[in-house]
Amino acid sequence: MNIVVLMKMVPDIVEELEIAPDGKSLDLEAIRPIVSERDDHALEQALLLKERSGGSVTALAFESRDVDEVLFTALAKGVDRAVKVSAGEEPLSTAEAAALMARVLPGVPNLMPADLILTGCQGIDDLDGVIAPCLAEHLRTPYLGIITGIETKEAGHATVYKEFAGGSRGQYVICLPAVLGVQAAEKPPRYVPVAKVRAVMKSRTIECVAAPAKEEASQLAIGAMTKPQAAGRAEMLEGDPTAVAAKVVEILSARGLA
């Protein structure tokens, strides 16, 4: 079982997000990138599969700020290879990234064919969650998303579990190779001691691969980006508790709630 995990960096929303002067993108200087949480779950799921059934896991990411730290951490957690793809400075749209990734993967030495390509089913910077299905389309493989569990007992197939609204859970058998969008690994992402990451930084290397020239053109362009505007404010009831209570009753009555 050879598994590729696609990881990417997203803005860390612990920091205040700022709009860039162009009015249609985030100010990248003001943000600090963090690995997409669901990609971290995809990595954990791959490591769990490797522990159960053997094989190899490769973590792969487009080059971006702080991504080395994420790839070294993946190596410390137990992936066999970490690959960084340089695709120039220009940010890629989701569709562009998927199309480019489909052309990058065959060019990475000794990587393809992979049995499973896992990635997060969504990223906070792209809630549509379309990169995995787009990639599957380019690679002509099956795709399933919102995955919360994977079993690989039979050759050529995987049993995957998908969550639905209301707590329902579906079980599917999917032909391999396949692309899966992981919502949550079967266990929370593991902790790796910092000393181990530091040791890996000295003893292991991240493989660097140059992406072919971008041919794809995005069909969508961001027109404008704005911060949320306050539409209205809560009314604060202040003063004598009896008067406040009477006002509360009045408001509830007016809305048919009392």
């Binding site: 612990v14 266990k187 929370p188 593991r190 001691p193 910092v194 181990k196």
Partner: protein, 406 residues
């Protein structure tokens, strides 16, 4: 960087658990008389499969794997009680237990979720709460007079005030910050803070077994200290004080370090005339494990409290070297859920019950962990109308207000 444990031991450049018993410090451990005082005084000793006495016995018998795959040492809140009371003077909390705990931590099948989050946050944001590093000095915004931040005004300064995480971010810690700034300013101390550049000193990460995280934080802070010129460090963090005093020294750091409480206590003559407001409190003081048992600072906080007009100081049954731990050290701050799941009493609850039994209406503390830990216990145990928790410095600042201040 060499492992801090290696540096700590100091007697062999490659001291590990494997060769510990061949080293001079390790040979000391061979002198353990297996009396069991360590196990008896350990606040969670009865919850450990292998309390310190048994760990020593097992290591001597070569049962290393059994020790390292047990989670016993996750119950060690590094309160220094075993070390303080060992009749052979063995440096348990300083040497043996951290060496074992580092190995236990590395082998944990799963790091307890709360602890994992705190460690991950500390690595990424420099504080265990996961708050933005940029907001580390948010408490100082609008302070009057303003608090000097070195990145904005890098001129040499006498006192570098290392604020530390819980003081900088926790709402009650921020009360302590404002009080500390007020007392420093009233004493005319030339001081400045590091603001968003400061990172957790890392002591509790180290004693939780995450020595690599400690190394990373210490490297960052030492590099930062090298950027500025100052005569001494004064810190609000009892654990930061401990780290700078004992661990950072081994990494070449040689600037004088004081904790805020002894720093103010040594200036009591200048402080006394400023303490004009009568507080009318019966106060009991909780000895921080690191200030007390590890550094012998029992009287300094008490001297400050006694100098406050209207304060009557009463002692809990367990005080000074015998004080009960709040349970926050060695990673215990983020293991409450782990202990709860094992059906163990929260150590802070035990301590708050003892404080209430004194009849005091104020539980005074000197470590920023303790305010949140004890306030939680006061609420959970239903003592909100009987007891409040205050840092000693908060009480000093309160006593400096004009008598008519509400």
């Amino acid at each position: 960087m060499a492992s801090t444990m290696t540096a700590l031991a100091g007697d062999t450049p490659t001291l590990t658990l494997d060769n510990l018993l061949e080293s001079p410090r390790g040979r000391d451990l061979q002198t353990c008389i297996q009396c069991g005082i360590c196990a008896g005084t350990c606040p969670y000793g009865d919850a450990m499969d292998y309390p310190p006495r048994r760990i020593i016995g097992m290591l001597r018998a070569g049962m290393i794997e059994e020790v390292l795959t047990s989670d016993s040492l996750l119950h060690c809140v590094t309160c220094y009680a075993c070390m303080a009371k060992c009749p052979r003077g063995l440096r348990l909390t300083e040497v043996l237990l951290p060496l074992v705990k580092e190995q236990v931590f590395a082998r944990l099948p799963e790091v307890p979720a709360e602890l994992q989050k705190a460690l991950t946050n500390t690595l990424r944001y420099g504080n265990p709460m996961g708050e933005s590093a940029r907001k580390r000095a948010a408490w100082a915004a609008g302070a009057a007079p303003p608090v000097r931040v070195l990145s904005a005004d890098p001129r040499p300064v006498d006192v570098l005030w290392f604020v530390e995480c819980y003081t900088a971010y926790h709402p009650r810690g921020q009360d302590n910050c404002r009080a500390t700034a007020k007392v420093l300013q009233a004493l005319g101390v030339d001081f400045a803070i590091l603001g968003s550049e400061e990172k957790c000193a890392g002591e509790c990460a180290r004693l939780a077994g995450e020595t690599g995280l400690f190394d990373t934080l210490a490297e960052a802070n030492l590099k930062l200290f090298g950027k500025y010129t100052f005569s001494r460090i004064v810190t609000s963090g009892a654990h930061a004080f401990d780290a700078f005093t004992h661990q950072y020294r081994l990494l070449g750091f040689d600037v004088p370090v004081e904790h805020t409480t002894p720093f103010f206590a040594s200036r009591l003559d200048a402080l006394k005339p400023l303490l004009t407001r009568k507080l009318n409190h019966t106060v009991t003081y909780h000895d921080s494990c690191v200030l007390g048992r590890h550094n012998g600072m029992y009287e300094e906080p008490r001297n400050l409290l006694k100098a406050i007009p209207g304060v009557k100081l009463v002692e809990m049954t367990h005080n000074r070297i015998g004080a009960l731990c709040c349970g926050g050290g060695g990673g215990g701050m983020w293991l409450d859920t782990f202990y709860k799941a094992k059906g163990l009493e929260r150590l802070a609850d035990r301590r708050v019950r003892e404080a209430v039994a004194t009849g005091a209406d104020v539980l005074a503390v000197s470590c920023p962990y303790e305010v949140s830990r004890f306030e939680d216990s006061v609420k959970v145990l239903g003592y909100e109308k009987q007891l409040v928790v205050r840092d000693v410095v908060e009480l000093l600042a309160e006593a400096m207000e004009s008598p008519g201040t509400p």
